[in-house]
Homo-oligomer: 346 residues x 3
């Protein structure tokens, strides 16, 4: 996820993603375009330029690039041949902008995680569009979210409490998806309709590869029927900015009429307060302690409740290894076919 | 020295010492405990946790550790076996907290420098408890203190003056102790009972291994008898935070009745002003100039008055070499006896 | 260029030049002296010291150095033999202080760029003495100045405009000098006497090795005679502070009577606004994007208008290679003649 769709308009929006500088904006037809934020001429950030009808113009010496990134104009002389700025495939879906930072030929919109619980176009007040910048590796954020037993310690008195302690995370997994269920029967709710009263509660986190999560949160009368309301599905998506900083997008499902818009605001405020005041200091301090070291090399003590986060880490490690093996193969291929149809290297 | 004893109470106190994150606090019996500030599970800082009756609980997922650092509780499942957080031997003495950061089996409270001029329990106003954070290697602070001829240049008009220039530092040494005496006969005192008048003055610094110093400062009528009052003994202790930052603890001896408490305050203010406004900018700028290089590799010009500081540097180099040789031997031993009684490695 | 001559007086002025810390000040005769800002004893910055009648005294322990940098006094004992602080040859010319940071035996005041358009002593109001600190490699500043076609994009609406686009930079060069002429016939002036009207305009930049530039700017009626007024010569001089930061000195020629002093102020303000608000953010962002990499290793797309900046880069590369080859030869020589008349190495 690169951004909330509401953030991207005619103005150029710049953000570092996977350690690459990127600009995003809509062309005159409202389509979202994404370019590397670096002119191939003098490496000027294109964010200092301006959009053209269907491309971008550098703000330093006026080079113009079309939507494919091809240089199509140089006001100070001949248009340089075979000159391009990198572009990225982009899809708008679920009120989010999804970007593919890898080999464009392998972009596959079917791989976008399923957030179909969110309508394509908002029709009422909702709790979406929230963002935090986190000074930590993205995996520490996933670790945090895949073991919600931490809620009853780190968020003691805000989102959780003593009565909710001692329950176990149960995980199930298949390729590309890990569920980490935390069911807490006969415990006191900290907020919501059962606030202050005994109920059966759950915090079930569903990870979808590579870095999206959907949280089912809810409560029912002790022993009562368990069902999930769309308003109680929380969205957590993390995108690496660099190896030690992360874009964190969050919100929750459901739409509210004007008279109930305060509910969306209340959930937003509770999430934001907990993330800013409680999770972020912890996660950033852990990143600081790790000083960029590999997690396993530090020989962490593993607990039963790490089952969800460890499964996610193992799946991501396999996906990364697989991608690197593919791109090495591809690179060998292009070494052999240097005179082939590859786009000209910069 | 880790802290002043007055700083450590029931609240968790966190400080980096010798580049290791440490938490200190008193248990319910008032004993000071020290733990590495890092949970072995997910590397959460324990400073975000809370003390238990005789140990500490991590604030992230609730792991509990006893006073020996052994994990004795996991609310979310089985207590992990052989899991511990590092602890450090600690002694409270001379109103200070002394910590041993090395091999716990080699901790020796007899090695604590002798500050018996300071009472164990304060009974009146005194000038102790002062602290500065310095952005420089600790040896630059020791260099500064072991050659007090600088007082008459760097502190010209505050602690020293022109009349006090030109005298020589005389040093004597034995293992673990270096005296650097600076006697300035028939010079004008800058402060104290002889302020503005001719007297015989001295600034004698006594270094005690590894990083403690006691300063005898005083004045007498020209040619008069020399004796040292306890109020005129200044304490200077430096502890490395990192290789380029230092904890600097300072103060002076003597206790004062309520009506004379202003004297303690006056000394504190004079020290602090001189250290903050005059020494610190110089020492930090030197550290900046050296950019972490080894002192000797920069081939400093040595002067006669460096005699004290060079002797300290040489003793410290020998102590460090000796310690490293011991720890290498120990490491070889433990390689051989892997199945032995070593505490489980993390 | 180390500084504007107006900046250097009896007070010690400290500045890093070519990554070396330097102090500059005038002796009692008004001559400018330059020393390395580092005492050979304990590496104290000499900027914390004070000037003597014809030299400098360290503020830490009082070592005194004469104008040649030789240690001539140690108040705390014997003057150390063969001890010196590095000095730099300095010349005041064109209201500027020029410093030679290389081998003193190769200093040659004939190599100072010719800014004889500037009087040696100001007699009226003028637009000189301006300075900016830039967080970028100095070559990026030269690149910027040697291709002024950027004026009509980056400074669109302030110094340039749409009508001025599309003209080509023509370059001529000889050793040590590159001209990059940009003639823009029948275009609308953005400022000056033709502001808002059609005229023939030019922005011709003359680079003088190694890092000085003189800009001829002007306008005439369409097809009218071209001549250059001294008031319309702008001065741009860049000196590396470090590899990624630069001292930028700028101004323009001409002197003004009291009643016209506002003109000098107006030019100063226009320059400063454009440099601070438009050039600096671009140049610093490019430096950030390049992350210290060699320019050519990033394989920039070259355009016709890069002709001036590329010629300067090629001349500088040759000059640097030549200097390094000379200094290697010299170093070999001094290896052989270790017992020779070399000043004692520190």
């Amino acid at each position: 996820m690169a951004a909330w769709s509401s953030q991207i308009g005619a103005e150029i929006f710049a953000r570092r993603l996977l350690d690459q500088p990127v600009v995003l904006f809509r062309n005159e037809d409202g389509e979202v375009l994404a370019f590397e934020d670096k002119c191939p001429h003098r490496f000027a950030p294109l964010r200092f330029g301006k959009r053209t009808s269907d491309g971008i113009e550098c703000g330093y010496h006026g080079l113009r690039f079309d939507r494919r990134g091809v240089c199509v104009g140089n006001p100070g002389g001949q248009t340089p041949p075979n000159t391009r700025v990198r572009t990225y495939p982009v899809v708008q879906r679920h009120q989010m902008i999804w970007i593919w930072m890898g080999d464009p030929r392998r972009a596959d919109s079917a791989a976008i995680p399923d957030f179909s619980v969110i309508p394509e176009v908002p029709t009422g007040a909702c709790n979406l569009g929230n963002y935090l910048h986190v000074r930590a590796n993205y995996l520490l954020e996933i670790d945090n979210l895949m073991d919600l037993s931490h809620v009853n310690f780190l968020h003691n008195g805000t989102l959780g409490n003593d009565s909710m302690r001692g329950h176990r995370v149960r995980a199930t997994a298949r390729p590309g998806l890990v569920r980490a269920d935390l069911f807490m029967p006969n415990t006191i709710a900290q907020f919501g309709p059962f606030a202050g009263r005994r109920c059966d509660q759950w915090n079930n986190m569903i990870w979808m590869a590579p870095t999206s999560m959907l949280l089912e949160v809810g409560a029912t009368a002790p022993g009562g029927p368990v069902s999930q309301r769309i308003e109680d599905l929380a969205v957590h998506i993390v995108t690496p900015e660099t190896s030690r900083t992360t874009h964190y997008f969050y919100g929750s499902g459901g739409e509210y009429s004007d008279s109930e818009a305060w509910i969306a605001d209340q959930i937003r405020e509770a999430q934001t307060r907990a993330f800013v005041q409680e999770d972020n200091p912890m996660i950033e301090a852990i990143d600081e302690q790790m000083q960029g070291a590999d997690f396993w090399s530090l020989r962490p003590t593993l607990l039963g409740n790490d089952v969800g986060s460890v499964r996610v880490r193992r799946q991501l490690e396999a996906l990364i290894a697989q991608e690197q093996s593919v791109s090495q193969t591809r690179r060998r291929d292009s070494d052999i076919h240097l005179s082939g149809a590859e786009p000209p290297a910069r």
